[in-house]
Symmetry: C2
Subunit: 194 residues, 2 copies
């Protein structure tokens, strides 16, 4: 039996739908309210202000991405496949949630010159999760010595995949391309392993 989503969740859903596709500044609070079927005062009671709403939408989004990525890792068999699972996970993830225009986190970062502490934390936690988990996964593949360089490369490629969406590239093609580049980087790093 389906429970209908709470007011709070409807607001977060609408925020993902609208703000992460059109841009935050290009999405008036009014539009989110209309889409969620909620009154202004209710939004402010829950989230304080627009930035609070965006922040919590990002937090929920990161949790879901975290789970989706972890699932993809668990399903992969070899250490190398687990390390590269971030790319197929992205495709799968974008099917499950409302797909952002490119990346909810980078998009908000780009248009937030002076984020408040909460938002700043939410934004940083995306890069944080990305690098820390990739580091764990990379150790079995290239050894502890070469991990840092490889992780930085993988984060760059992952970021490039998302950026290509802004250049109009199809998401699946971008992921495929990224996987190819990342695979080569892993080979090169694994070859260097002392």
């Amino acid at each position: 039996m389906d429970v209908q989503p709470s007011t709070r969740e409807r607001l977060l859903d609408a925020t993902e739908d609208l703000a992460f596709t059109q841009g935050v500044a290009a999405t008036p609070v009014d539009e989110i309210l209309r889409s969620a079927g909620v009154a202004p005062a209710t939004l402010y009671a829950h989230f304080g202000n627009k930035e609070g709403l965006i922040t919590q939408a990002l937090e929920r989004r990161l949790m879901r991405w975290d789970e989706a990525w972890q699932l993809a890792i668990d399903e992969a068999s070899t250490p190398r496949e687990k390390l590269l699972a971030v790319f197929p996970a992205l495709t799968e993830y974008r099917r499950g949630v409302t797909a952002a225009r490119w990346c909810a986190f980078l998009g908000v970062a780009a248009e937030s010159p002076r984020p408040g502490p909460e938002l700043q934390k939410a934004l940083a936690s995306d890069t944080q999760l990305l690098t820390s988990r990739l580091r764990e996964l990379a150790v079995p593949v290239v050894g502890a010595n070469h991990v840092d360089a490889l992780v930085a490369q993988l984060v760059l490629v992952y970021t490039g995949v998302l950026g290509m969406l802004l250049r109009g590239m199809d998401a699946e093609r971008a992921v495929e391309l990224g996987l190819h580049i990342a695979g080569a980087a892993v080979e090169a790093a694994a070859g260097t392993r002392s």
Copy 2:
């Protein structure tokens, strides 16, 4: 003898300073006017509206990037170095102009869900220049058959370099990292050459 910049140029300068570092929506026209020392009506006489101002700032920026990149290509000696010159060119370019927070074009694209035709054209011309010139440069390196795949990879890496700036990475490190990944991609593609 230095000629002092025209009103028009002061406005474009201020736009690059402010809108491409803070974000367009986060930069009120007022702030640009104050920074340029110009009256509102003057701006609208020159550019029609805010989007016109942004559009022309992007157009001027692309011209300068075009020149800077071409210069870097001319200074490189081997075909492989010319192909990869886009990365050192980026470092050099960012010294010459007001460096954007990450990328003026991608940044504007990200916060413009429904750009007018002029702006759309200005945005597309960045990717256009990038792909067409890389394609020319790649032919001598990998042959005409494998060009498309390699170009797409290089554009992705280039885009990833810029995106890393939003994750707080230092520009020179990002460029260095990108150059490394791109170099490996070029090697791999050149090796495949039939």
